[in-house]
């Protein structure tokens, strides 16, 4: 149905399609250009009524400031450490649990799947508040362990459902052949199934990475020591101290966006094929 269009002449329908797509694309890109524009503004022109994307007297000074005069390196290290650990743990837990839910019918199967779905109904405060009170009593506030575990728990249900949905689309013949050849189920899973599930693994990784890389509200409650700040908290502190350093904030934001935007665009084909929530089709 899709595929290569050939050299057909474009009709009015196509032109209309372009008009709509381009309008939305402009709307999608504009706020990001806006961040870029602010990051280039010199200090005395932060409040400007010009709509030009490249401001007068554009300067990269804010990038220099944020990288060398603010603890950006520390925030980056904290965020990378946290996001990488959360991603690894989420993938390990979701790929195994999702497989069992997809291939086996065991006691508690239904309840297990639904309990993961049910967690999505919790308002953020329903977890945040008890965790905060518990962590406060256990002296776990201001620790990466506490925050990391909270992140794994919030991203896990979506990851498990995504993995399960993707395994459902894989044919069973290959594993069955491997099992007949005398391989044990764990071996069949690791050697035969997991490599085939690469698209879903990539998406699971992307989601759990994104979730902790860009999370603000939970981190704000759990972390208060500045040397533990993640990138979101660090950037927000620029917007909060004595005066808002908008240009520095914008430059920092853009640096934070860059890796995730690149990943997202690079993986956008995978997103389409791998985002199989399954669910209804079971």
């Amino acid at each position: 149905m899709s595929g290569f269009g050939g050299r057909k002449k474009l009709g009015t329908g196509d032109l209309l399609a372009y008009a709509i797509l381009v309008t939305f694309a402009v709307a999608a890109v504009y706020p990001v250009l806006q961040i870029f524009s602010i990051s280039l503004r010199p200090g005395d022109r932060l409040y400007s009524t010009s709509l030009a994307i490249i401001p007068q007297d554009a300067t990269f000074k804010a990038y220099h400031t944020i990288l060398f005069d603010r603890p950006f390196g520390l925030w980056l290290r904290n965020s990378l450490l946290l996001s990488a650990s959360v991603t690894l743990v989420s993938i390990a837990l979701a790929s195994t649990a999702g497989y069992a839910f997809s291939r086996y019918r065991f006691r508690g199967h239904r309840e297990g799947m639904y309990s993961f779905l049910m967690t999505q109904m919790f308002p953020a405060t329903m977890l945040l508040l008890p965790l905060y009170v518990l962590f406060r009593q256990l002296q776990l506030l201001d620790s990466f362990i506490g925050l990391g575990v909270a992140y794994v728990a919030t991203s896990l249900p979506f990851c498990v459902w995504t993995m399960k949905g993707y395994y459902d689309t894989l044919p069973r013949d290959l594993e069955e052949a491997a099992l007949l050849d005398g391989m044990n189920p764990w071996g069949a899973f690791m050697v035969v199934v997991l490599p085939l599930a690469a698209p879903a693994l990539a998406i699971t990784a992307l989601f759990s990475f994104m979730a902790s890389w860009s999370e603000f509200i939970v981190a704000r409650v759990i972390l208060s020591r500045p040397n533990l700040f993640t990138l979101p908290l660090g950037l927000a502190s620029l917007a909060g101290t004595f005066q808002t350093e908008w240009a520095n904030y914008a430059a920092g934001s853009l640096l934070v966006c860059l890796p995730v935007v690149v990943l997202f665009i690079a993986l956008n084909r995978l997103l389409i094929s791998g985002l199989t929530l399954g669910g209804v089709k079971g």
Partner: protein
């Protein structure tokens, strides 16, 4: 497969165990704790010495008319967002499915709002809504010669502003889901329809949209729950409910009660109510899906 292979009877349980252990520790235990908190009177002043008060918090919430106002706003917020997410997402997905030159570039650009971290987009939009220096009013004034809008100071506009922001944030997800769903519709259906001389409209309403539904339905369910519970966007765009706490939805209201006013037990009881509302909605939604499947 399944239960046939005796020696590996415990294999599926072992596979599920680690994930379940994390969920029990970090989700289900705090959940129970939240229920117990909801029946006490813990606040900043009664942190170590809270007492059991039964349903007092729930009665306080239901007899206060703020609850109904905030609940109504939450419903409007959720419905408005979902309608536009689905409308824009499905339209763009269908358009991107046409073999247009340059669509890979368009798709990459259209996915951008999803890729940018939420708090950055929210704060950027907040800046763009500024009365004097924000890009939106500048465009309205300078390019379209319209009156500037008091986006953040008027209670109604201050509620529309985060809706616009969240529509922008959320449509790419539905677009990608649509594109994925379109791949699962067999091409033979379209070929058969072409042989029958079906119009593009008939093909859209009889093949494409019904074919998309199995993929869209779970996404709409999840989208509804996520939007209902969205804390980041409305909190950051309205700067914690400004003006004068007029722009809260349930989650931001609870967040403020808990972490600005330290009314822990009150907030916990409120969370339980929101959870029950969403649980009820989800069960109803899944029942109606089951009903559709049975009829189909």
């Amino acid at each position: 497969m399944g239960s046939g292979r005796r020696p590996y009877r415990f294999f599926p349980y072992l596979m599920v165990l680690p994930a379940m252990a994390v969920m029990v520790a970090v989700v289900f235990y705090p959940l129970l704790y939240n229920f117990s908190l909801a029946t006490r009177n813990m606040s900043l002043y009664h942190f170590q010495s809270s007492q059991f008060v039964g349903l007092k918090n729930f009665i306080a919430i239901f007899s206060d008319h703020t609850f109904y106002g905030v609940f109504l706003k939450t419903v409007i917020w959720t419905v408005a967002n979902l309608v536009f997410h689905v409308l824009f997402g499905v339209t763009l997905g269908l358009l991107l499915d046409r073999p247009l030159p340059g669509r890979a570039v368009l798709r990459a650009l259209l996915i951008l709002p999803w890729a940018v971290p939420q708090y950055i987009s929210a704060l950027t939009w907040r800046g763009m809504f500024d009365y004097e220096y924000g890009a939106i009013n500048l465009i309205l004034k300078n390019a379209l010669h319209l009156m500037p809008i008091p986006w953040l100071s008027n209670a109604t506009w201050a509620f529309i502003a985060p809706v616009i922001t969240n529509v922008w944030l959320g449509f790419p997800f539905m677009m990608i889901v649509t594109l994925g769903g379109l791949q699962s519709i067999p091409a033979e259906l379209y070929e058969a329809a072409d042989l029958d001389g079906a119009s593009p409209w008939t093909k859209l309403t009889r093949i494409t949209l019904p074919g998309l539904w199995p993929v869209l339905a779970p996404s709409i369910l999840l989208g509804t729950v996520w939007t209902f519970n969205n804390l980041n966007v409305i909190w950051l765009v309205t700067d914690g409910g400004r003006p004068a706490d007029q722009t809260h939805i349930l989650t931001t209201y609870i967040y403020k009660a808990a972490f600005a006013y330290y009314r822990y037990s009150y907030a916990a009881a409120f969370s339980v109510i929101v959870f029950l509302i969403l649980l009820g909605f989800t069960i109803a939604f899944m029942r109606s899906l089951k009903g559709q499947e049975a009829r189909a």
